[in-house]
């Protein structure tokens, strides 16, 4: 069972490594979206500090959506998804593996880039640390919930835009608790409550999302 999970993850990471261009696109998208905001609202440090956490988090949501379109689509097109669904292991495990792989490929780089972007927004060191921590708890949620959307829109015309429509409303709690944690540090009200709520949301997503997304895959492949 665990071996199957690792195989799914290793396979996706290997494939991403072979297609580094696609991978870099999503990371640069994140950097660019965040960098557009100071140009739009002006370089006033106090203002940037206020909007910083929210901007970085919203950009993280968008970046994860950008890469979600391909989570199952490539495998669906070349028939490997069918083969994986027919493997002797539960499909829930497959969905979980794909979501974890998505997080490793697209979520972890965000954690590394985010502090640099936080500095652009004049965030103090303590807030930067909480920003990374909130993203570390929050980005797996994005991958897990996103995998449901990716599975539901498999093979549809305009699937990419549709995923955005389906999944963004579901991301709302992650955004609120995630960005809220960083704001909590800035305003001095603390971030523990936000982070624990974010953690609870992660646990729930971890329990339910792979199961739903496996069902969605079955529905879509049929």
């Amino acid at each position: 069972m665990l071996k199957f999970l690792f195989t799914v993850i290793r396979r996706d990471v290997l494939l991403a490594a072979r297609r580094r261009g696609d991978w870099l696109t999503a990371q640069f998208f994140f950097v660019m979206v965040v960098s557009m905001f100071p140009l739009g609202v002006g370089p006033e440090p106090g203002m940037l500090r206020t909007i910083g956490p929210g901007v970085v988090w919203v950009a993280a949501l968008l970046a994860s959506l950008l890469s979600l379109g391909r989570l199952f689509a490539d495998d669906y097109r070349d028939g490997t998804l069918e083969q994986m669904l027919l493997s002797p292991y539960p499909n829930t495990l497959l969905a979980l593996g794909k979501a974890i792989a998505h997080w490793i490929i697209n979520g972890i780089p965000l954690l590394v880039i985010a502090p640099v972007l936080g500095i652009q927004f004049n965030l103090p060191a303590e807030a930067l640390w909480i920003l990374v921590l909130s993203l570390a708890i929050g980005t797996p949620i994005l991958s897990l919930l996103g995998s449901i959307g990716a599975a539901l829109t498999l093979g549809l015309r305009g699937g990419g835009a549709l995923v955005t429509l389906l999944i963004l409303p579901l991301y709302v709690p992650a955004l609120i608790f995630g960005a809220g944690a960083v704001e909590g540090v800035l305003s001095g009200t603390g971030s523990e409550a936000h982070l624990s709520l974010l953690g609870a949301f992660l646990m729930m997503s971890l329990l339910l999302a792979p199961w739903v997304s496996a069902m969605a895959l079955k529905v879509s492949v049929e």
């Binding site: 829109t153 389906l166 409303p169 709302v172 709690p173 608790f177 704001e183 709520l197 529905v219």
Partner: protein, 244 residues
């Protein structure tokens, strides 16, 4: 009584046809009565003036918007568990009405907000949740519309609906949490201070009217959906020819 008998599209279709006019008539009578009570009989609120009367529309619409989403999820769950086509049809038939009520709730909320808060839109916890609920409705309908195969479309929509319904309380909680941290709006849309007896009656009757309207419209829409899907079967052909 055999429930399966009524769950078959060919028996449901004429039954729904008989029920629609009754519910439509009830909806009409109740709406007229409710509007009369709320706009002519209910006293003017001494704090909010005449403007408060918008809550007679707003509150039933907001109730229905949430309630319909849950009812849809109920039919979706039944459809996924027992593979009953009629439940998927019901879930699909309810979606546009739910979205409509959500939109009405937002619209009237804005109308109420202008005189009370001095702004068309305030990021109040309830209004924000309602907005996200509208997004959830749009998501389900967009997904259903994007898939051509009715079977896949039904199931995909149902799954998304169920994920949404699990998420609604979490979203509501998170939005409320977010709202209390950022600001405390003193005047709430639904907490009309010391509601008079007639006000309560007006609101309840209008809420009942919204129910009847929803049932009538959903049944009518379900009938169309059934006819469209079953158009190749004998009974549906007979129906279509009878009408032509």
């Amino acid at each position: 009584m055999n429930l399966y008998h009524y769950a078959s599209p060919s028996t449901f279709y004429p039954l729904a046809g008989k029920l629609v006019p009754w519910f439509a008539a009830l909806a009409f009578i109740l709406t007229t009565a409710g509007l009369y009570i709320s706009f002519f009989m209910a006293p003017t609120d001494f704090q909010q003036g005449e403007g408060y009367r918008i809550i007679f529309i707003h509150v039933p619409a907001a109730w229905m918007s949430m309630f319909i989403y849950v009812v849809m999820a109920f039919w979706s769950a039944i459809g996924l568990a027992w593979n009953t086509r009629l439940s998927f049809v019901m879930a699909r038939a309810l979606a546009p009405t739910g979205a409509m009520f959500t939109f009405v709730a937002l619209w009237t909320g804005a109308f109420w907000g202008k005189p009370m808060w001095g702004a068309w839109w305030v990021w109040d916890a309830r209004l924000t949740s309602e907005l996200i609920l509208l997004f959830l409705y749009v998501g389900v309908m967009a997904l259903q519309a994007a898939i051509d195969d009715p079977r896949r479309s039904d199931r995909a929509g149902a799954l998304l609906n169920l994920v949404g319904v699990i998420n609604v309380p979490i979203i509501y909680f998170s939005v409320k949490w977010w709202n209390t941290l950022h600001q405390g709006s003193s005047l709430s849309l639904t907490r009309a201070p010391s509601m008079a007896q007639t006000m309560l009656w007006g609101m309840l009757i209008l809420a009942l009217a919204a129910w009847m309207y929803t049932i009538a419209v959903a049944l009518a829409r379900a009938r169309t959906l059934i006819l469209e899907r079953e158009r190749r079967t004998e009974w549906a052909r007979a129906q279509l020819e009878g009408q032509a």
